[in-house]
């Protein structure tokens, strides 16, 4: 998945939860848009469905995620 597709998937997830983000770019923090752990689980499952295999990642990196850009970088790493 491209970074743009990841951001659009995050937007869909938030809209579905009734909290559409006013603006959403890579500098947006997850706290600003209320992107919670369950939203992140959903995002990971959607990415897995899109790439057709399970994600593989370093748990330590997960704890450092703060922004949309961090999410994109994390998922790029996990799908690589």
């Amino acid at each position: 998945m491209t970074r743009t597709e990841i951001v659009e998937t995050m937007r869909l997830i938030l809209e579905k939860q009734g909290k559409p983000p006013g603006s959403l770019d890579e500098s947006t923090t997850l706290r600003e848009i209320g992107f919670r752990s369950l939203d992140f689980s959903e995002l990971c499952l959607r990415v897995e469905d899109a790439i057709g295999r399970e994600l593989n990642f370093d748990a330590a990196r997960l704890r450092r995620i703060e922004t949309v850009a961090d999410v994109c970088a994390f998922l790029e790493g996990a799908t690589g």
């Binding site: 869909l12 997830i13 809209e15 579905k16 939860q17 009734g18 752990s37 369950l38 992140f40 689980s41 959903e42 990971c44 499952l45 959607r46 897995e48 469905d49 399970e54 994600l55 593989n56 990642f57 997960l62 996990a78």
Partner: protein, 417 residues
């Protein structure tokens, strides 16, 4: 003792046979063997009548369900295996109990198992109305619900049975139409599957006066769909289990049964004659039935979860099956399935927990009316998410992943897992 109605007709693969002509082939092993007969639906009807005539201790297994694991289990239980179409090898066997018939549970509770019955416990339609009927047999041969229909045509005058040769629901429906069946007993999944596949018009080619639902929890949307397709039919639903026997028969077109039928406690003996004892404890239905399987007496827990809605008690699913667990919180799968399934444009759904590397989330598979998908799947997801929330599903248990299927994934037992 029940008595065969020799002149009743059973239609096997389009050919009418009298009961008198069935069950005449001597089964292998002499009277002393427990026998498992494996064959197509027609062979199994013949074998079942043979079990009765010859007081044989037997079990039936349809082709397709005869997995190596199940055959090994039957051998292990001392059954001689019999394929009526094949030359037979000698099989080890154990002494039979004359008149016992084992029912295969249909697998919705996990691995199939054998539940011992007698012909007396299987034959529950002792108060059936006397009107002549031609029943379409839709259930998997050898299951409890299938024996309910078979015993009807074996023991009640004027009750005929149509036994389709092929197991797929479209072929079963076609066989019913061809034979002019005027009564059908089937699982909700059978109807949901066919509604999606052949539509209202396809279903309406069958013209039943009686439609009976059983084998799975029966929800209002299925009852409403059948009422639309068959406005003049009597629509009934049965709650039963292989172990407890027939529990409840309801004819008013509403899901569940009246809460007034419940006994206040398990020490109560106030159930009216002819109706089993029913009691709810910790959201689970308990039953005390005179049609219970061999060795079962008094109150038994059904394993089924119920909810009380107004003046009705509604069975929603298995109580301890597949609890959805997300973030340490638990809810029954049946409750979420039930809430999503109440959406007027959902024709079928199933939910489960999916694990991601960062935690779990609830996922749903849905067969939706095309109208729901008109604006794309994203819009459908938003609508279903809103609906589930508004219908009491806790926030964390609302499905996050929605998969839209084109047809209902029906199993050989006419149910879905």
């Amino acid at each position: 003792m029940t008595q065969l109605r020799e002149q009743n007709r059973i239609w096997i693969d389009g050919v009418a046979r009298t009961v008198e002509s069935l069950g005449r082939v001597s089964l292998m092993g002499g009277d002393s063997a427990k026998v498992a007969v494996i064959g197509d639906a027609g062979r199994l009807v013949d074998a079942a009548v043979g079990f009765f005539r010859q007081r044989r201790d037997g079990v039936l297994l349809p082709i397709g369900a005869d997995t190596a694991e199940l055959l090994d289990a039957l051998r292990g239980a001392g059954y001689a295996l019999l394929w009526p179409d094949r030359a037979q090898a000698a099989d080890p066997h154990e002494p039979a109990v004359p008149g016992r018939v084992c029912v295969l549970t249909s697998g919705s509770t996990g691995t199939p198992k054998l539940v011992p019955h007698t012909w007396e416990s299987l034959f529950t339609a002792t108060r059936v109305d006397a009107r002549a009927r031609r029943w379409l047999a839709t259930y998997q041969p050898g299951t409890y619900a299938w024996y309910q229909l078979l015993t009807l045509s074996m023991f009640v005058p004027g009750q005929e049975l149509v036994v389709p040769a092929a197991p797929d629901p479209e072929a079963v429906l076609a066989a019913g139409i061809d034979a002019g069946a005027d009564a059908v007993s089937a699982t909700p999944t059978f109807w949901q599957y066919l509604h999606v596949r052949v539509g209202t018009d396809g279903l309406a080619a069958l013209a039943p006066e009686q439609v009976t639902l059983g084998g799975e929890p029966v929800r209002q949307p299925v009852l409403d769909m059948l009422r639309t397709v068959y406005p003049d039919a009597r629509i009934s639903h049965i709650y039963a289990s292989s172990e407890a026997g027939v529990g409840v028969v309801v004819h008013d077109g509403k899901e569940g049964f009246p809460a007034s039928w419940l006994s206040p406690s398990r020490s109560s003996t106030d159930a009216p004659a002819g109706r089993p004892g029913l009691h709810v404890e910790d959201d689970e239905l308990w039953i005390r039935s005179r049609h219970a399987s061999v060795g079962v007496e008094g109150w038994i827990r059904s394993g089924d979860e119920v909810v009380v809605r107004g003046d009705r008690v509604v069975v929603v699913g298995r109580k301890n099956d597949d609890r959805l667990i997300v973030g340490g919180q638990k809810v029954s799968r049946a409750r979420v399935t039930s809430a999503v399934g109440d959406h007027p444009l959902v024709r079928w759904c199933r939910v489960s927990t999916r694990r991601s590397p960062v935690g779990a989330a609830v996922a749903a598979e849905v067969v939706a009316d095309p109208a729901m998908l008109r604006d794309g799947t994203a819009a459908a997801e938003i609508e279903l998410t809103r609906f589930a929330r508004e219908h009491g599903v806790p926030d964390w248990a609302v499905p996050r992943i929605w998969r839209f299927l084109e047809q209902v994934p029906i199993e050989q037992n006419r149910k879905t897992r």
